[in-house]
């Protein structure tokens, strides 16, 4: 399962969801869905998000690994 820390990252930079949506060229609802973990972005959008926040992708998106390694 993949979770993300988009919301705290965005809030730490003082951006609104609308600001981020406009910067990425997506709808505000897409940002909301991303933050709530209801929507997994494409690799392209994930990289664009990471670049926007100037952090590595794996810092924004975290892969939860079970004890079985899945």
């Amino acid at each position: 399962m993949i979770r993300n820390i988009l919301r705290p990252t965005r809030e730490a930079r003082g951006l609104t969801q609308a600001d981020l949506a406009q910067a990425l060229g997506v709808s505000r609802q897409t940002v909301i869905s991303l933050e709530q973990g209801r929507y997994l972005p494409s690799l392209e959008l994930a990289i664009r998000l990471a670049r926007h926040f100037a952090v590595p992708v794996e810092q924004l998106f975290l892969l939860d690994i079970t004890p079985d390694g899945d």
């Binding site: 609308a18 406009q22 060229g25 997506v26 709808s27 609802q29 897409t30 972005p41 494409s42």
Partner: protein, 148 residues
């Protein structure tokens, strides 16, 4: 409800409304009336144009409300893809059902005025199949837009 979900729901409503108009014009009580080819063509083309204009207006309004964008984003494209898949499945199923109706009607002649051998019956069946697929497509889009 998001503007994209609203767009999907209004799309389904527009199709259902157009189909309701079609049914009212085509039927006479519980039977299918007789209509000239010109009237049938005008009805079908008129409804297609009306639905097309309605969609264009709904889409433009949705985009304007949502940050004045001009194209769908990737989440919306994914929702559209899910909706299209559902629409095609319904279309396939309805086409198969149409074949069964044609075969059983040929054997038992139970469709009466809706018989597919009549031009009116065939047009009615095809428009019903098309409207079912389109309505399902938009409803699936609405459900997907609410979930994602």
């Amino acid at each position: 409800m998001t503007s994209f979900a609203t767009f999907q729901l209004r799309g389904a409503g527009a199709i259902a409304l157009a189909y309701a108009v079609f049914v009212v014009v085509m039927t006479d009580g519980l039977s299918l009336g007789q209509h000239s080819a010109v009237k049938l063509a005008a009805l079908v083309v008129g409804l297609v144009i009306a639905v097309g204009i309605t969609f264009a207006l709904l889409w433009a309004r949705q985009m304007y409300q949502d940050g004045r964008r001009t194209v769908a984003d990737e989440r919306e494209e994914q929702i559209e893809a899910v909706a299209e898949r559902v629409g095609y499945r319904v279309l396939d199923s309805a086409a198969f059902l149409l074949v069964l109706l044609a075969l059983t009607d040929a054997a038992w002649n139970w469709l009466g005025s809706f018989a597919l051998t009549r031009t009116e019956g065939l047009i009615f069946a095809l428009v019903t199949v098309s409207a079912s697929a389109a309505t399902s497509r938009f409803l699936a889009g609405y459900i997907a837009a609410r979930r994602r």
